[in-house]
């Protein structure tokens, strides 16, 4: 056997057929549908020139809208934490009558299209609505105010908290709580010192997901928000307004900030999950 043929022969191709086809189609698909449009979003602001960008960044209305979006998303996610934990706890640990129904209903906000959610919540909490009217008697108005935005974002964010925490709570060995009880801890101490710390990473990641969803949310919010510039105008709506004004630079700069913010949130959640998975912080994965 000739030595030459031995030394040069090298095969690295994978024996499983289809690699090229799958690679090519995937690159095409990802390239056309994801990379190309996002490139446009990243490149476009620079094309408008520095002047347009500085103008866009000096827009007080934009900062107000971003503030409204971030603030309401944060508050809604924050309120959802205790509510979500309560629901998860009863769902997993208490023999809840109608447990299966509640379990199915939790996913409702995922399932209902956002436009439907939007007009429904606006009607429900509106001045003549089933909840809006009695609340108005108490002097509380929700629709067409910041509170309305928070209510809408709570609705869409609730499943994130419950579905993040639920598997972790299910995986917690009950022996842990029994051990705490045998060591003399009261049930509140057990919950506060033993259970909640184990649920913390999952809760934070659910919070992050709900928050990320909240800052970008559009359909379920605009009907109930009132949409007054500087007060109840959310950032995604301002993108639409700017587009209607053919102010692409303005729209693009807000969109860019929203994109970066939600990606940072999700990157944070992903990092948290990896750390949990590697056992660096507490939590059952």
């Amino acid at each position: 056997m000739a030595e030459a043929t031995l030394s040069v022969r090298s095969r690295t191709s994978d024996p499983l057929p289809g690699f090229r086809l799958a690679l090519f189609s995937t690159l095409l698909w990802v390239g056309l549908i994801v990379v190309l449009p996002l490139t446009a979003l990243i490149v476009r602001p620079w094309q408008e020139g520095l002047g347009a960008m500085t103008m866009a960044l000096h827009d007080g209305r934009m900062f107000a809208a971003l503030r409204v979006s971030f603030f309401t998303a944060f508050i809604a996610a924050l309120i959802n934490v205790p509510v979500g934990l309560l629901l998860t706890w009863t769902l997993v640990r208490v023999q809840l009558p109608g447990r299966r129904i509640v379990d199915a209903l939790i996913d409702l906000p995922f399932a209902i299209p956002t436009a439907v959610t939007g007009i429904t919540l606006a009607t429900l909490y509106g001045p003549q609505g089933w909840l809006g009217k009695p609340l108005a008697h108490l002097g509380i108005s929700i629709a067409y105010s910041t509170a309305g935005i928070v209510v809408a974002l709570m609705f869409v964010g609730l499943p994130f908290i419950v579905r993040s925490v639920e598997p972790v709570l299910r995986g917690l060995p009950p022996e842990q709580e029994e051990a705490a009880g045998l060591l003399g801890a009261s049930s509140w101490q057990t919950v506060w010192r033993v259970v909640l710390p184990s649920l913390l990473p999952a809760t934070v990641s659910g919070f992050g997901l709900a928050f990320a969803r909240g800052i970008g949310e559009y359909g379920s919010v605009i009907f109930i928000a009132g949409n007054q510039p500087f007060r109840t105008e959310i950032a995604p709506l301002l993108v639409v307004v700017r587009l209607q004004e053919f102010d692409y630079a303005g729209a693009t700069s807000i969109a860019f900030i929203l994109l970066v913010a939600s990606m940072l949130c999700l990157a944070g959640v992903a990092m948290l999950r990896r750390r949990v998975a590697r056992g660096l912080i507490t939590g059952v994965n």
Binding site: L108, P113, T120, M154, S187, Y218
Partner: protein, 274 residues
């Protein structure tokens, strides 16, 4: 846990569930049927309503088919091969989930809008993407992009490659392996991913709203038509359409829960057997 604590938890939970999760769908039905079922159905027979329903169905079917075909190929690529920048590819596929729907619509205007990169040029050849069904399709494709891949990828990774290798050695071609070996094993997950894509596609509002131009009878999907009706104070018609859309979406999601259950049971049976 004392009986008192337990009962207060149960009551609190049901109270929250009732106010937050049960009232809204009830309200949709009640508003839709305020003037009786015939009126509600009549409002759905309006030509603009019918056109919206048809457009929604068309866009949903198209985006589901396209995203399923490419999504399956992407999941195959990622789960069966090791190659450089594989992680980057996974991250790219996941991106659309985190993007605000409005941004998902805007990006297409940046490419194909009148002030977009190629909008004017394409207009010249009489190709219209922004404010036309093509734009709606692109926006829907973007928004529903990751779901099929995301749903089947974990399963396909867990299945490993032995069955595929065995099929290769037995002389099967790529399509034969995909069609006869890989997909049948992942069929419940695939179905679940397809249904999730369907539900998302038919309900998408923000992204579609930005690219569609809201031309009634032309570029209005069901969610957009709901907005138009609602803002036009046609409450019964708006809620009738909302009820129809919600029922479609919830049925899809309900089927999905059913199939996921099957998938879980199939997986358990498989585990028990091996």
């Amino acid at each position: 846990m004392s009986a008192l604590t337990r009962w207060s938890l149960v009551v609190a939970t049901w109270l929250i569930v009732a106010v937050v999760l049960i009232l809204p769908p009830l309200l949709v039905l009640s508003e839709a049927l305020r003037d009786g079922l015939p009126t509600a159905l009549q409002s759905l027979a309006d030509p603009d309503a019918i056109s919206a329903i048809r457009l929604t169905v068309e866009m949903t079917v198209l985006s589901v088919v396209i995203n399923t075909v490419f999504g399956v190929l992407a999941a195959w690529l990622i789960s069966k091969y090791r190659f450089p920048l594989r992680g980057v590819l996974v991250a790219l596929i996941e991106i659309p989930i985190s993007v605000s729907p409005v941004v998902a619509g805007l990006v297409w205007l940046l490419l194909f809008g009148s002030q977009g990169w190629w909008g004017a040029a394409l207009d010249h050849y009489n190709i219209h993407i922004a404010f036309a069904p093509a734009g709606i399709l692109l926006a829907t494709l973007f928004v529903t992009f990751p779901y099929v891949t995301r749903t089947i990828l974990p399963l396909m990774e867990q299945q490993g490659r032995d069955a595929e290798d065995a099929a290769t050695l037995l002389g099967a071609s790529f399509w034969q392996i995909l069609w006869r070996v890989t997909l049948p094993d992942a069929r419940w997950a695939l179905l679940s991913g397809i249904l999730l894509t369907t539900a998302r596609a038919m309900g998408e509002f923000g992204a579609v709203s930005v690219v569609s131009g809201h031309i009634p009878g032309m570029t209005e999907t069901m969610p957009l038509h709901i907005e138009t009706l609602y803002n036009g104070y046609q409450s019964v018609a708006a809620f009738s359409m909302a009820a129809l859309l919600a029922i479609m979406a919830m049925t899809t999601v309900g089927f999905r829960a059913f199939f996921e259950n099957r998938a879980r049971r199939a997986a358990l049976a498989g585990d028990a057997g091996s």
